[in-house]
């Protein structure tokens, strides 16, 4: 029993010292894991990354093993996906926040958004393959991959836009409506600009997911890695870009998977370096955005 007659007696708590060290241990483990993983990928892959690695396409004839084609494909898919997903996602969020009255429909939309965000990417891949690939006849193409991914990142964009819309003070809405502005005018001129940072956050997060995704693309966009040929003149370029969208194309992550499957670890680690570099940039962008927002508030 502890002596309670005097306050001048610090109790010893061995169990607590243990718990405290467990807390610190766990935290440092997370850091070490990350640092170890990132460090290892760079250590193994940095030597592979070179200018020609980044700009040439893999070709047996020219004896190149670059990932230029995959880089272009990744960009293609990211842009196409966001073009498809952002308007719909933002629109859905605006409807939920500004038009819908709380009730069954809103709850249904929120439940389905939740469900959609929990569906594993393999399932998106299966669905994309049969729906975009077979039913719509897009086959293995960048377009099919992008459509599939746009469904996958939709919840992310809806959720971030909703968050952003919620932080816009009601007084802005009232002010604009009070001046006689129509609701749509108010949304266009007041709401969306104020919510823009949140929408951009959603967009960047979605870009991160797209870049890292592989399971949903394997059976939709396939694994082509050809570099697009420059077109002659503007209309020809556009035509070629459009044709390219209908060709199969593997993103960096898909290419990494295929290289790894074939035991070519050197190339795989090289791609890993590039991917981690992109992820780092995305995190930096988000951080900068958050800081700027923080300063504004």
């Amino acid at each position: 029993m502890v002596d309670e007659t005097t306050l001048y007696h610090k109790r010893k708590r061995p169990a607590e010292a243990f718990l405290l060290s467990a807390v610190y241990g766990a935290a440092s483990m997370s850091v070490i894991l990350l640092a170890g993983m990132v460090g290892y990928v760079f250590f193994k892959g940095a030597g592979t990354v070179s200018w020609s690695f980044l700009t040439t396409a893999a070709s047996v004839l020219q004896k190149t093993s670059g990932i230029g084609g995959n880089l272009v494909n990744t960009l293609y898919i990211a842009v196409l996906t966001l073009l498809a997903a952002v308007p719909v996602g933002v629109g859905a969020a605006v409807y939920l926040n500004e038009y819908a009255k709380p009730g069954k429909l809103v709850r249904l939309v929120e439940f389905t958004t939740e469900t959609l965000s929990g569906i594993p990417s393999v399932i998106f891949g299966l669905f994309g393959m049969v729906f975009f690939g077979e039913t719509l006849g897009l086959g293995y193409s960048l377009l099919a991959g992008a459509f599939t991914l746009s469904l996958m990142v939709l919840p992310l964009i809806v959720r971030n836009t909703q968050e952003a819309l919620r932080t816009v003070p009601d007084s802005y809405r009232m002010g604009a409506l009070g001046l006689g502005a129509s609701r749509f005018y108010m949304i266009r001129t007041i709401l969306l600009p104020s919510a823009m940072p949140g929408i951009l956050t959603g967009l960047i997060l979605a870009a991160g997911r797209i870049v890292g995704e592989s399971a949903a693309l394997l059976f939709t966009a396939g694994s082509g890695s050809r570099l697009p040929k420059p077109g002659a003149g503007a209309s020809d370029t556009i035509r070629r870009l459009w044709e390219k969208a209908h060709e199969s194309g593997g993103t960096l992550a898909v290419e990494l998977y295929l290289q790894m499957q074939n035991g070519r670890y050197e190339t795989a680690f090289g791609i890993g370096c590039v991917l981690i570099g992109i992820v780092l940039c995305i995190n930096l962008l988000l951080k900068l955005g958050a800081d700027r927002l923080g300063n504004k508030a």
């Binding site: 708590r13 607590e16 399932i123 469904l151 939709l154 890292g212 399971a215 998977y257 992820v279």
Partner: protein, 320 residues
């Protein structure tokens, strides 16, 4: 500018105020309809994924038989007399996910405690971005690290453990244990982030009350704050389970890939990895079976989600 022009127009032809209002109403109506369609699109997408998966996956259950599929242990889809039992894959997914959660939750929750309650702000400023970055690393990279770093280590352990057991089939380190470790690291950021939010969400009064009763800082965290954050932490675990069950690319190669009962040093195949590794060459009933596996996964995830909604609702009622 635009407003000014409008008024001028209105002054020139007095009848157009009505027309203008009408036009405005039409634009309003169209805008609302377009936004409404966007929102319904989310429902449509989820519904069509479900319908397609049922349409494509249920036929296999119909042809092969629910019992044969769910309780059969032999997976030989390409044999002359094919057999489509996925019991071992189901068990592997369950055991692998369970192991991953068991490893990940203690570390994740403790890290969340560190982030939310740590006195040392400078250390927290190192850990937080690390966790965020961990969340952003693509799953293929986890897979790559798994086979090139973890598997050789695991193989050494395997060699040491089974040196004297001639019956053991060596896996080169690609086994259930490796896969569970990879999954554990993968779900760590999810567990950390959601637990941290839950811990931060605990009413400050709870901390103050515990401290004022003579609780030490550690006692306060573990006896008052964590129980109060219970529902949030359960949410973290459930989401972690969802992520681990659905993950495929990181563990297809790391887990070995043979259909075996889920024992730590066996080469195994998960539900999700079966889809990825066989879809490329499958056809006919085999292909339908892979969709059936997808359907099973989807149903499981939906059940998890429904359970989650219930937990969160209950948590809100208890104020935790």
């Amino acid at each position: 500018m635009r407003e000014g022009m409008k008024t001028k127009q209105n002054m020139l032809c007095p009848g157009s105020v009505m027309a203008d209002r009408k036009k405005k109403a039409v634009v309003e109506g169209i805008a609302q309809a377009v936004f409404g369609v966007c929102a319904s699109f989310v429902i449509l997408v989820t519904a069509s994924i479900t319908v397609y998966m049922i349409g494509k996956g249920a036929s296999a259950f119909w042809k092969v038989g629910v019992k044969e599929i769910l309780f059969g242990t032999v997976w030989k889809p390409t044999a002359e007399k094919p057999s489509y039992g996925i019991l071992y894959m189901i068990l592997t997914s369950a055991v692998g996910t369970g192991l991953a959660v068991l490893l990940s939750v203690p570390i994740g929750v403790l890290t969340a405690v560190f982030l939310a309650e740590a006195a040392d702000k400078r250390l927290a400023a190192v850990v937080k971005p690390a966790v965020e970055l961990l969340a952003g690393i693509p799953s293929v990279i986890y897979g790559l690290l798994g086979i090139s770093l973890l598997n050789p280590l695991m193989y050494r352990l395997e060699l040491a453990l089974f040196r004297d057991s001639p019956g053991h089939r060596f896996t080169g380190g690609a086994n259930l244990l490796s896969a569970a470790l990879v999954l554990a690291v993968m779900i760590l950021p999810t567990v950390i982030n959601i637990s941290e939010a839950a811990i931060r969400g605990v009413q400050p009064g709870v901390r103050a009350a515990s401290l004022a009763l003579g609780g030490s800082r550690i006692q306060t965290i573990f006896c008052a704050v964590l129980p109060a954050a219970k529902s949030g932490i359960v949410t973290a675990v459930v989401l972690g389970v969802g992520r681990a069950v659905g993950e495929a690319m990181a563990i297809t190669l790391v887990s070995g890939g043979c259909v075996n009962p889920p024992l730590p040093f066996y080469s195994v195949r998960f539900l999700a990895t079966a889809i990825v590794s066989e879809m490329g060459y499958s056809s006919g009933l085999h292909r339908q079976m892979l969709f059936a596996i997808g359907l099973a996964l989807l149903i499981f995830i939906m059940a998890v989600n429904t359970a989650l909604t219930k937990i969160v609702k209950k948590g809100a009622e208890n104020g935790g």
